[in-house]
């Protein structure tokens, strides 16, 4: 029973949440339109959480993903105002993400600063850089090219339901694609297996011939790019860039990975599990908003859900860990 709860508690909780919302919102919740909407709402968080999973697999974490997301949006927007074409500006923002991630990697892996301290410092630096570049202002309106803003508004037509067309938003498609890529990298590639080995026992991995320093560094590079992508998706969605718009991303991404870890067999961070964690958070958010629950109450509830899931997992582990 305990073992069952430990592995399936979070999943059962998710089903329960869905059922409750379905009962309370019989007309709007369990509709294709709403679910497509949810996938779009969580697409940025999905990318951030999947990127966070990569460093957490190694046993590290990255506090700077939120400010990196803001910074990448600002970089792209500032370049738009300078007249750069969309692909170039987006590419530049991604390069900034990669560079920022590698800086984190060097600090943690080469210099040996604790991840908490190193990424806390870069969090404020990247956030400050976003303010400097934007002059503290939101960049919006005519400065943002139409094609960039349109990306988030359109999608892949899936056919039609009744007389309304069903469209899978491009943001959802992108989030799925990135999840797929990271899944392949972590679960199937030799690179990913080595990252898991480092997370399992860094010294043992080193003695077994794994280049621990280098791989840890590159993991941060992945996360930096992921954060930049999430930031660009956000900027496209709101057709503007603001130096604080990525703020909520970091804590929610970490929360999603932790929620996911309650599901996996050995409590490891796994990509698919992280996406599940994102969905739990996204469904909560969607349902509670529709029920017009006050947003502060919503935050308390989301926090409680996370504590509940992790507590059940921890208690389950304690009960089954000793023979």
């Amino acid at each position: 029973m305990v073992r069952f709860l430990r592995h399936y508690g979070t999943l059962m909780g998710m089903v329960a949440i869905v059922l409750v919302f379905w009962a309370l919102l019989p007309d709007t919740f369990m509709t294709a339109r709403n679910w497509l909407n949810i996938t779009q709402q969580v697409s940025m968080l999905t990318v951030a959480a999947v990127a966070m999973t990569v460093v957490m697999v190694v046993g590290d974490f990255d506090l700077s993903v939120g400010s990196m997301a803001s910074l990448s949006g600002i970089v792209a927007a500032v370049l738009f105002t300078l007249g750069w074409p969309v692909p170039l500006a987006v590419g530049a923002a991604l390069v900034v993400g990669l560079a920022g991630g590698l800086v984190n990697g060097v600090l943690v892996s080469v210099i040996g600063i604790l991840p908490f301290v190193a990424t806390l410092a870069t969090l404020t630096m990247y956030s400050g850089a976003a303010f400097i570049l934007s002059g503290g202002k939101t960049i919006f309106g005519r400065d943002i090219p139409q094609s960039f803003a349109d990306f988030a508004k359109s999608g892949l037509p899936l056919g039609s339901l009744g007389d309304k067309p069903v469209i899978l938003p491009w943001l959802t498609v992108l989030a799925l694609a990135i999840t797929g890529v990271v899944f392949v990298v972590l679960e199937l590639s030799t690179y990913g297996r080595r990252l898991y080995a480092i997370g399992g026992n860094a010294e043992a991995a080193r003695l077994a011939g794994v280049r621990v320093t280098w791989l840890r560094l590159t993991a941060y590079g992945f996360t930096g790019v992921g954060a930049a992508v999430a930031g660009l998706m956000y900027a496209s969605r709101v057709a503007s860039a603001n130096p604080t718009q990525g703020e909520g991303l970091m804590l929610n991404a970490i929360a999603a990975v932790f929620l996911g870890m309650t599901v996996t067999r050995h409590g490891q961070p796994r990509v698919v599990a992280s996406v599940l964690g994102v969905l739990v958070l996204g469904i909560m958010d969607n349902g509670l908003t529709q029920l017009q629950v006050d947003s502060y109450v919503r935050e308390v509830l989301v926090g409680l859900i996370i504590l509940l899931a992790v507590s059940i997992s921890a208690l389950g582990r304690r009960a089954t860990g000793r023979r």
Partner: protein
């Protein structure tokens, strides 16, 4: 003299019966060894003594009167003290503070510590144990594991109003100790015994048990097999009682004759304390390395693996190898590290992952891992080393010490290896698993694999090695044939002053 006896103890966990009629008698003024293979029920019996588990059936009596050990506090109240393999210490605090962790600090009142009184109390306790070389002001982290253990024992002798201990339970106390450290511990145990204390001593090291114990209790499959008095105790008897089998000898005979081209050449290697390391290993040969603590014994294999910076040349089959663990594995060196949990295993991941890790390049195509290859490889190796596990997906943390070590042997065999580097290969491993490991080593040498084995277990070193190198102060002072060497002679060589 106080006396604590357990009779007919039964303890069942779910389906498994961990204890099925186990018993034990502790008497003041005696050193009592508890022996048995891993899984024989030693730990469970100790957990019951410690009040951490309640037996399903059986009697416990103290000086003839029945008692119940319902909690750790009850066990402490009866005067029992437990020293675990992993010591509970606070490395950053001083010896004196560590000794007072479970006692009230002497104070001026208002929580202001009287440091002089704290140190004096610690010093008095250490002196009572006959330990004079530890300064209470030293940081705990600066002590070796042996001195840390002595400090922990001394801590139980600090005068407080509570009950004074009369019995000590030591679980594998010498597993992490060097010879000299162990000697100091034994001296302290003798002091305790002379003061009328009882000691329950759990160890896999036969020689220690034979030298120390007044009485030996052997468990097998949760049952009390025998309690032998000092004059009845013999190595063969204990092994037979533990295993239920009659081991003619623990060490299988050398099979092939070594010879041919050198597999491993070490030329002028220097790393940390090690210097002027020169030796050659031939195919099918086992080179044992003996040395005291501080002789560089712990660094040699790490240096060969490239895990610590080194100078000089290491050649495998005549080819120089690069200076990284990856290069060493690629060249055919396979390493079984000393600290299997810290340096070898990924404890909370499937055991197959640990086995496959160094061999990922050979187990993948175009950057993608081939799961089916790994499954097949691990299945074959698990059989070769006689690994007992539920499945390849079982996490290493759930395995016994002997099976954890077999996981690392499986990993070392996967290459297949040219030269096997073994650091304390049977430390904390029960007799049955030891025998399997020795058989594995012999099987490899028969196929022409060379082995360098560092061990502080001298009978093992003599029993398995073809030649033994003596390491003193970071230098190999001599390499001599193992045949005909006795433990005493080998130890004497290790202690010998260097001839200048």
């Amino acid at each position: 003299m106080p006396q604590l006896a357990l009779h007919g103890v039964v303890k069942t966990y779910g389906q498994t019966r961990a204890l099925d009629g186990a018993g034990l008698e502790l008497r003041g003024g005696e050193i009592h060894a508890l022996m048995g293979e891993n899984g024989a029920g030693k730990s469970t019996l100790i957990r019951i003594l410690a009040g951490l588990e309640m037996p399903d059936a059986g009697q416990i009596t103290f000086n003839g009167a029945p008692v119940a050990l319902t909690s750790p506090a009850a066990a402490e109240g009866l005067g029992l003290r437990f020293l675990h393999q992993e010591l509970q210490i606070v490395p950053a605090l001083s010896v004196a503070e560590n000794m007072h962790l479970a006692h009230p600090y002497p104070t001026f009142g208002l929580g202001i510590v009287r440091w002089d009184a704290l140190r004096a109390a610690s010093l008095a306790a250490l002196t009572r144990l006959g330990v004079t070389h530890i300064d209470p002001k030293t940081r705990m982290a600066d002590l070796g594991p042996g001195d840390q253990m002595l400090t922990r024992i001394a801590a139980t002798m600090i005068d407080t109003q509570g009950s004074l201990p009369w019995a000590y339970v030591l679980d594998e106390p010498t597993a992490a100790l060097t010879g000299a450290e162990a000697e100091r511990l034994f001296a302290a145990l003798h002091t305790l015994r002379a003061a009328g204390q009882a000691i329950l001593y759990v160890s896999h090291r036969m020689d220690e048990v034979l030298a120390l114990s007044d009485r030996v209790t052997v468990l097998r499959d949760g049952r009390l097999v025998s309690t032998l008095m000092r004059d009845q105790v013999s190595r063969d008897q204990i092994i037979q009682d533990m295993t239920g089998r009659d081991f003619a000898t623990l060490y299988p005979p050398a099979s092939g004759e070594e010879g041919g081209a050198p597999l491993l050449e070490v030329r002028g290697v220097q790393a940390g304390i090690l210097h002027d390391m020169d030796f050659t290993l031939k195919a099918g040969e086992v080179l044992g390395i003996a040395g005291l603590s501080g002789s560089g014994r712990n660094h040699l294999l790490r240096a060969l693996m490239g895990a610590v910076p080194r100078q000089g040349q290491v050649l495998v089959k005549g080819q120089g190898i690069g200076q990284s663990p990856a290069a060493a594995w690629a060249a055919g060196l396979a390493y079984v590290p000393r600290e299997r949990r810290a340096e070898g295993l990924m404890l909370h991941q499937p055991l197959a992952d640990t086995v496959a890790l160094p061999h990922i390049p050979a187990l993948s195509t175009a950057g993608f891992v081939r799961r089916s290859w790994i499954t097949r490889l691990v299945a074959r190796l698990a059989q070769a080393v006689r690994l007992k596990a539920q499945s390849q997906a079982q996490v290493a943390a759930e395995l016994s010490g002997g099976n954890q070590q077999k996981v690392l042997f499986a990993r070392a065999l996967a290459g297949p290896p040219v030269v096997l580097l073994l650091d304390e290969p049977t430390r904390g491993v029960d007799v049955g698993a030891k025998f399997d490991i020795y058989a594995t080593i012999r099987g490899l040498t028969a196929q022409g694999v060379g082995v360098v084995m560092v061990s502080s277990d001298l009978p093992e070193l003599i029993g398995l090695s073809d030649r033994i190198g003596i390491l003193q102060g970071g230098r190999l002072t001599q390499i001599l044939p193992a045949e005909g060497l006795t433990e005493g002679a080998l130890l004497a060589l290790c202690y010998e002053k260097e001839v200048v």
